[in-house]
Amino acid sequence: MSTTLTAPRPYAEDVGGPAQPLLIARDLAKHFRVRGGSKTARVRAVDGVSFTLFKGETLGIVGESGCGKSTLARLVLHLVERDGGELIFDGEPVGAPRGISIAALRRHVQMVFQDSYSSLNPRMPVQDSVAFGPFVHGRKKPDARRVARDMLVKVGLNPDLFGPRYPHELSGGQKQRVNIARALAIEPRMVILDEAVSALDKSVEAQVLNLLRSLKQQFNLTYLFISHDLNVVRYVSDRVLVMYLGRVVELGPSEDIFTNPLHPYTRALLGSRPSMDPTNRIEEPPITGDPPSPIDPPGGCRFHTRCPFAEAVCEAKSPELGAWLERGSHVAACHMLNAGSGHSAAPA
């Protein structure tokens, strides 16, 4: 016996067929209530986000801190209750009477968190942390542990050396590998990577990114890749979604977004990357000020308070995103792109 590794799982559970997007999110919303003063305010963390995730692709989600990226990830997994909108997983509405249950969804979707230490139980050997998922899904304990050890092999950790160790005995990169193994142990179809490599140093980050890439092929995975690091997103993503203050501002194929950004915010975000050319330094900050508070977000276009092209219409009306449901479309929520919006730069 040379190996006990499992073969890549065939697409037996592919209900909707290859053309059906794995996940459709429509107008997702999450408003957190915060208590303070006399009235209760609402943080509009995610406020009407729509996107599609096609089978086998990597969708990158970028945006500043506090724009709602992580809340969006938790909404997809129902770790927080959504306040509005709908989710369709492989053609089946999530949590609806005739759709797929949340428990079933969690068998297909897994998540890797940013903080590799706190996402492992400090008092559990890492192989038991990995084995927990298979155990919950009905495998006997020795069987679950065997799956866990196989998964550790897949992420490049020797199960004899690392399996019985505790999280504090592992380096950050090793812990994140364990977290990836933990997420993959129940054979999900989709993995949400919430800043999964952001806390690692650069050399380890590259290793883990390459690992994620090869695992994706091996297991037929679909990734939702959340990061604030634009270069990393460009490296891994097929398509990119840009968020600002709980809304989608731009969505499109990765190369299109990075070479031809449509939205002023995306342009500013890309302009904030340090230049590799010393003769072409960034002299002026591409964008000034902080994002407004999501507790009382500006009306109309959320970006108008910081946008150099803002006009009256931007304050009055919220721009539409456009045809976000289609695969190759590159869309942005900006009045300058919509004909007849009333913006002076809009096409006629």
Partner: protein, 301 residues
């Protein structure tokens, strides 16, 4: 099938360590750490001796602890074969100390065990459920907190009547709110960590998460607090006995002996100090041993 996954041919591990650094299983590593902790081992032996002495009291006690003698009252150490002398009714002090360990250890351990089980459960439920459930449990506990613990114990056992069982129940009730608070705090801390969320994301139910991910992290602080309560419990129990609410005379009990010998403090000060010393040594040893076990069980140290 063997437990170890065989590596595929050509598998490379860039994080490999030399095989000398192989890891032990959990309990054997706890054993190794304990073996390297002579202080804990030492105090462990003393605790064991005290417990064994209490269990086998009839076999080792040199005299009948109830046999009084008018002529032999408050005799000094070594007087006529009484190694530690006699008490105010002429009973052999060593025998009474040995027998007294029985009720004192029971009064120390049983209420703490009950309180740990009940208070700990309530605390974990409250801490993990949060919101209204937590508020309901913790505010109820706060009501009990409002009374000084001695007063509460006296009030409860006074209402229920004297006797050892009622005394234990009263003490358990006194300890439950504190135990609950400790468990609740520890649970609430763990609950907000990512690994709980990750466990929820794998589809685990609340009970499974609590069983496998919360309890292990809550047990440490609960355990250390419970062990510190043992000595408090012994002392409170002796207070109850002193007031006639716990163990009844002439049953030998360290707390009761302390209060009855108290009147003879100018006549036989050493004899008076003996039950106190017994309580002191027992509680110190319990604390040190539990502390040692806790650090041996802590995988992070």
């Amino acid at each position: 099938m063997s437990q170890t996954a065989t590596l595929p041919a050509g598998a490379r591990f860039d994080d490999d360590l030399p095989p000398a650094l192989r890891v032990r299983g959990y309990w054997s590593s706890v054993g190794v750490r304990l073996r390297h902790d002579p202080a804990t081992l030492c105090f462990g032996v003393i605790v064991l001796l005290i417990v064994l002495a209490a269990i086998f009291a009839p076999l080792i006690a040199p005299f009948d602890p109830y046999k009084e003698s008018v002529v032999l009252r408050l005799k000094p150490f070594g007087y006529r074969g009484h190694p530690l002398g006699t008490d105010e009714l002429g009973r052999d002090l060593l025998s009474r100390l040995i027998y007294g360990g029985r009720s004192s250890l029971l009064m120390g351990l049983v209420p703490v065990c009950i309180a740990t089980a009940l208070g700990g459960t309530l605390g974990v439920i409250g801490g993990f459920a949060g919101r209204t459930v937590n508020a309901a449990i913790m505010r109820t506990m706060d009501v009990f907190y409002a009374f000084p613990s001695v007063l509460l114990a006296v009030a409860i056992s006074g209402a229920m009547g004297g006797g050892m069982a009622n005394g234990m129940a009263a003490l358990a009730l006194v300890f439950i709110p504190a135990m609950c608070r400790v468990a609740e705090t520890a649970t609430a801390q763990v609950r907000s960590l990512d690994f709980i969320e990750a466990a929820r994301a794998t589809g685990a139910g609340t009970f499974t998460i609590v069983r496998y991910h919360v309890l292990g992290n809550v047990l440490g602080p609960v355990f250390i607090y419970a062990s510190s309560l043992v000595s408090v419990s012994i002392l409170l129990a002796s207070g109850l006995s002193f007031l006639g609410l716990g163990v009844k005379p002439p049953t030998p009990d360290w707390g009761l002996m302390l209060s009855t010998l108290r009147q003879s403090i100018y006549v036989a000060p050493l004899s008076c100090a003996l039950p106190g010393a017994a309580i002191f040594v027992t509680s110190i040893c319990f604390n040190l041993v539990s502390d040692g076990i806790r650090s041996a069980m802590d995988v992070r140290l």
